[in-house]
């Protein structure tokens, strides 16, 4: 199996370059194509696809699966990403960076300091 990864819009980051969306990396696998998909189309569609495939220099199957791959990827990407208004994004980011209060014992030690750091 030959697998490649669709580039993440923001490698190594949770949020995209637009600063307002979360992304997931998809993996597309170039597996052995041994499954058959029957499609019902009308005469006009078939003619249009055949003409387009000829112009693009690809097979009818290549044309259709190529278009379907792109659309599927788009839909899957949209289903696992979230675009939010800037103010919501800021709140989300703040929540992720939220700090926890210190343990009471440590708070007490810092408050009742009996040392002087030099």
């Amino acid at each position: 199996m030959n697998c490649s990864t669709v580039p993440d819009p923001s490698p190594g980051r949770l949020f995209g370059a637009d600063g307002q969306s979360c992304h997931t990396v998809y993996t597309v696998c170039d597996m052995k194509k041994d499954r058959v998909l029957n499609l019902r189309v009308d005469e006009h569609q078939r003619a249009a696809y055949e003409r387009a495939a000829a112009i693009a220099g690809t097979s009818l199957s290549g044309l259709i699966t190529g278009a379907a791959d792109a659309r599927a990827e788009e839909i899957l990407h949209a289903s696992s990403s979230m675009t939010v208004p800037t103010e919501v994004f800021e709140e989300l980011w703040t929540a992720l960076e939220h700090t926890s209060p210190l343990a009471p014992s440590l708070q007490k030690a810092l408050a009742d300091r009996q040392f002087e750091n030099r």
Binding site: G12, T99, P101, A103, L106, A109
Partner: protein, 165 residues
């Protein structure tokens, strides 16, 4: 009030006894050498008489995000800059007075200042006993995923507390 300062030739280490021979021996025989080679930085506590009654040693450190829990590793690079609180010990004569917490607070304050200057996400401790692990857990340190004896505290949490307190 205890004075905390860098270990120097002027400090008297001869009477220090924490009850953990390894920690006592390291202070007496290795600390100055380790500091001299820039591996650690050792800070000692005394009451003005130069007789050391407590110490801690710190050093730069890194953690791999794969070793952390999901929440500890969130948003972090593969290798995370940290500080190791390598040793911390207080003299027997001061046990039972919550001065261990004070010594820890002294160390954390220094490390937060270091992190403010050069970065660093976590303060790391390797507990040498269940008692030590309980001490650090009591002060908010949390174990990492790959090793229950290694605990971390967020620099940011301490920093925020110090800046708002």
């Amino acid at each position: 009030m205890f004075l905390c300062e860098e270990l120097s030739a002027n400090h008297d280490l001869s009477q220090f006894e924490s009850g953990e021979p390894d920690l006592d021996d390291w202070l007496r025989t290795s600390a100055r050498d380790s500091d001299g080679r820039r591996i650690t930085k050792t800070y000692v506590w005394h009451d003005g008489s130069s007789i050391v009654v407590g110490y801690y040693a710190v050093m730069p450190f890194t953690l791999e995000s794969d070793d952390l829990t999901k929440s500890q590793a969130r948003g972090m690079p593969a290798t995370i800059p940290c500080y190791l609180l390598a040793r911390l010990a207080i003299d027997r004569s001061l046990h039972g007075q919550h001065l261990g917490s004070q010594l820890l607070a002294s160390a954390l304050e220094r490390l937060v200042h270091a992190a403010e200057a050069v970065g660093g996400r976590y303060i790391v401790v390797d507990s040498i006993s269940s008692g030590a692990a309980a001490f650090y857990a009591h002060h908010g340190f949390r174990p990492i995923a790959s090793s229950p004896d290694r605990l971390v505290l967020s620099v940011r949490d301490v920093s925020n507390h110090l800046s708002t307190g």
